[in-house]
Symmetry: C2
Subunit: 331 residues, 2 copies
DNA sequence: AGTATTTATGCAAACGTTTGCACAAATGTT
DNA sequence: AACATTTGTGCAAACGTTTGCATAAATACT
């Protein structure tokens, strides 16, 4: 099938290519009559501009990259969903690139973004990322970067995050307000900045209460969380925790397995509070009380920031989504 | 920052653009020495070809589209994950487009794919899609389409599916083999072809057993499934189903809520069998027995088919992933 | 009627590649 | 020594747009 180009339309109407081009963009120079004819023909021939030619000429495109460890997960799918929605609304296309938490693949993905001269890139760091040099080099290409969720420590980058500090603080306060005295707090991978922040904030609050016993654990997976929680809820343990705090869905899954296996009643025998986007907590019965860390909201926020970057009206900074408590029946 | 082009390299080395271009692709015409010099300089200058120019010239690109109702879901995230993995391995980029089950957005997404002259498009139909005309028109653009999961009935299209018929049949046989006599079978949205197929196959098997009571239900959401299952497990019901079949994760979630609320013991009071990619069944305790419908496998399969299409070595047909029983403790 | 201004259109270069063809120099063949 | 072939390189067109500038025709101003 012959492709329809400006040239083709120009040929049919006996106009020059430039006139057709301008007519299609309703340029003031072109007469009403000509515009009408051009639009009409373009419509019937189903003309669609060649994006490659446009991008080549204008040195701009409508591509946004999204680099993250994995699409499938507890949180990222809704983040992607939100970002894609906004892309669609604003005429951008979203390219998804997974790193599998592999630093080399992360660098490759960056390269792809650069090669394609994307207008901007969202990045959630892989757990393996040790150096930011590839990202710094990337910035020279003048392509804005917006980090989300797993972000670099340095604040010379644009970051959007759930307010981890606020959330963890809120979590600690809530648990204490219920007069819990023997708390098991399970956090994620120790290397991640998100873990550090949540841990520190949580700690800061509970440490104020001298009479409260607090057990801190760090887990890298659901399975790991299951094993670790086992130690505290094993049948031989006489005094079991009266509250468990889970830093994430991943942790929650492991903990719940243990509790269910040992037939620990919730909230009678122990309370639970988790941080989550809300899907998993509602699966369980009773529904788990959680502090919402919405991937969806974060996605919207990240897109807004990206748009500002692209339009050059952005201050480099870190912005947060607000934390909300969603009441289940478990605290 | 000045961008590095062939022209630039040519200028520095006092060569023509065409020589540089050929040298970089190790064309046989170019002398070893020249190749060396060109490669070296390209390396140090960090040359990266302008994809837009390449695509414009070659009329090809490495973009694949993925149109589906929503990124976030029970199944799609792992499908996307698999497809992206393969894309990355094969030098393609994946563009994700959500339809929110809106027919108009679906058409828009198709348009975007056409405008960008993508090399191929994966499609999971929205629940609202009533006409295939937009897709047929699309085929004229000679862009291969590979449908997955929610596919059109007509077999003039390329389709990759979990083997719904086989899976549902397997499910029915399994339940019967356990001597269940009062079965509740809950299916998804009645309009979807996937529902029709699963229902029909399931029915065909159980109908052979005259002495078995079978209750069929169709639900459009988890909430709906919860309400519907309520009718069968309400405390006033004397004879409750001794087995429940759930067509999908969505259904399972609703059913489990009901069972847990009414403290129905599994598998003592009732058995459960579901179809799932495996994530959710393993969340519950005991872990739910399921027939695996792997989004991941399906993604791999879809990509293989797409590659064949793109390379023109494809017969239009429908291919299936194999169904596997994964033993939990609930049947 | 002559000049200035407006209106509508076209020319041609540019974006960065790829590639058929031409060509000059080097080498091989009689 | 004359010719044929191989080897290495460059020219220029093409892909489909956009856009500064030139220009022709129509209108307005003295």
């Amino acid at each position: 099938m012959e492709t329809i180009t400006l040239k083709r339309i120009a040929g049919v109407l006996n106009l020059s290519i430039s006139t057709v081009s301008r007519a299609l963009k309703n340029h003031a120079d072109i007469s009403a009559e000509t515009k009408r004819r051009v639009h009409e023909l373009a419509e019937t021939l189903d003309y669609e501009p060649n994006i490659n030619a446009v991008s080549l000429r204008s040195k701009k495109n409508m591509l946004l990259g999204l680099i993250l460890p994995s699409v499938s997960g507890f949180f990222y799918d809704s983040f992607i969903s939100a970002v894609e929605e906004e892309c669609s609304l604003n005429g951008y296309m979203l390219i998804v690139l997974q790193t599998s938490n592999d630093a080399q693949k992360e660098i490759n993905s960056l390269k792809i973004c650069r090669q394609n001269r994307m207008s901007g890139v969202f990045v959630c760091l892989s757990a393996q990322t040790s150096s930011m040099s590839a990202f710094d080099k990337f910035r020279e290409a003048e392509i804005p970067l917006v980090f989300f969720d797993k972000v670099p420590d340095d604040n010379k980058y644009n970051k959007v995050c759930t307010d981890d500090e606020e959330s963890a603080k809120l979590a600690a306060e809530l648990i204490l307000s219920k007069n819990k005295k023997n708390i098991l707090a399970i956090f994620g991978d120790e290397n991640l900045s998100i873990t550090k922040i949540r841990f520190k904030a949580f700690q800061k609050i509970v440490a104020l209460q001298k009479e409260v016993i607090i057990h801190n654990e760090f887990c890298s997976s659901s399975k790991n969380a299951r094993e670790v929680s086992q130690k505290y809820f094993h049948s031989k343990i006489k005094i079991k925790p009266d509250a468990v705090f889970c830093m994430s869905d991943e942790i929650l899954i492991g903990v719940m397995k243990t509790l269910q296996l040992h037939q620990i009643k919730i909230p009678e025998n122990t309370s639970i509070l988790t941080m989550s986007d809300g899907f998993l907590p509602k699966i369980y019965t009773p529904e788990i009380t959680y502090i919402e860390t919405s991937g969806y909201k974060l996605g919207k926020l990240a897109f807004t920031k990206m748009l500002n970057c692209v339009n050059g009206i952005n201050d480099v900074n870190e912005v947060f989504t607000r934390s909300i408590l969603v009441d289940g029946k478990t605290l």
